[in-house]
Amino acid sequence: MHEVSHGAWTKGHVSLDGEDMYAPDKDPVKVRRKIGLVFQKPNPFPTMSVYDNVAAGLRLSGVRNEKLLGTKVQENLIQAFLWEEDRDRLGESGASLSGGQQQRLCIARALAVEPQVVLMDEPCSALDPVATAKIEELISHLKEKYTVIVVTHNMQQAARISDVTGFLYYGRLIEYGPTRDIFENPSNELTERYISGKFG
């Protein structure tokens, strides 16, 4: 979305399946179809129902068959661990759910368009520990099917839920490797000091 911000710029490379995601000829809409986004603050479409939030992406893609939409909404709410809790509230506003439920609704909405990668930016920072635990459990489940990238400042969260960890510092990738190595025996001194909270 940076391209719509005045004065915004990008640097470095992000590639997916060997393709540069920042290439000038890259269609941002197609990129968004491949990479589902979940943000820090749960942001369901406030004027839409729970059902419509999940169906929104599919409708934009041209799906009009209500039966198919209904099946997809159910599938994705199940995937996002929300179906059991909210199956009777599909017609209510997405904004009426609790914070943790809203975040899972956003995850269901991201999954509905079947992305290759789900990018979550601090997905639990606005949530209490119980809601956080549910999202983390969901992430652990989702990673069997999707590539999930989580941006977090919470070291313990990274240690708990990831298989591989990258440590980024001022835009530079300092270290990248199996999570266990990063947290038990990091090879970079900067990583060691940062994850141990001994910085500065």
């Binding site: 070291m155 947290f183 038990e184 025996n185 990091p186 060691e192 994850i195 141990s196 909270g197």
Partner: protein, 204 residues
């Protein structure tokens, strides 16, 4: 967290000092023919109490601060080293018990055990020292030095099995004390391994 780690280091240092003294005292009692089982038992109990304190402190640090990297390796190693020190205390008590049971050993040839105990004592000292100063190089010398202990233990035990001029009491006491020294040396090696793990993250 740093305060907790300091407390942990200090408790480990206390344990190390007491554990080493216990072993030295047990060997001294063997060479001089003294009975010290009550004192050795007190030391073993004290080491056990210190070990429990270390366990509690380590668990508290893990729960409250979720340490990672070197701090995590250090705390894990403290738990293992604390166990090693408790074993030192226990083997010192075992030696003291052998002396109680054996009675008068003044006519026994104690040369080999005296020599070996000096060797094991320096191993204990260096394992503790390498931990205090996180001296990986010193820690790496322990495994080689343990070979002499193993060799002596096996050689002497084999000789005793195949008969010799010594009495049953002397033979039994020698074998048991040698066996405990061999175990103590092994635990000194484990402590040194932990030092290497703290320094490098590599398990030996």
């Amino acid at each position: 967290m740093d305060l907790g780690l300091d407390r942990l280091s200090s408790a480990i240092a206390d344990m190390g000092s007491l554990a080493q003294q216990s072993v030295i005292r047990a060997i001294e009692a063997y060479t001089k023919g003294e009975r010290i089982s009550s004192q050795a038992l007190d030391n073993a109990k004290q080491l056990s109490i210190l070990g429990e304190e270390i366990d509690e402190l380590a668990v508290e640090l893990l729960a409250r601060f979720q340490p990672v990297a070197t701090d995590l390796r250090y705390i894990k190693s403290c738990l293992e080293i604390s166990y090693g020190f408790q074993r030192f205390g226990r083997y010192a008590y075992d030696i003291a018990q052998v002396l109680e049971m054996a009675g008068d050993l003044s006519s026994c040839d104690k040369t080999i055990i005296e020599r070996l105990s000096h060797h094991v004592d320096t191993m204990i000292l260096d394992s503790i020292q390498s931990f205090k100063t996180r001296d990986e190089k010193l820690a790496r010398t322990l495994r080689d030095r343990d070979e002499e202990v193993d060799r002596t233990y096996l050689t002497v035990t084999r000789q005793l099995f195949h008969g010799g001029s010594t009495t049953v009491g002397c033979a039994l006491a020698s074998t048991l004390v040698l066996r405990y020294l061999e175990r103590i040396a092994d635990h000194a090696c484990h402590i040194a391994d932990s030092v290497i793990y703290i320094a490098t993250g590599k398990k030996i």
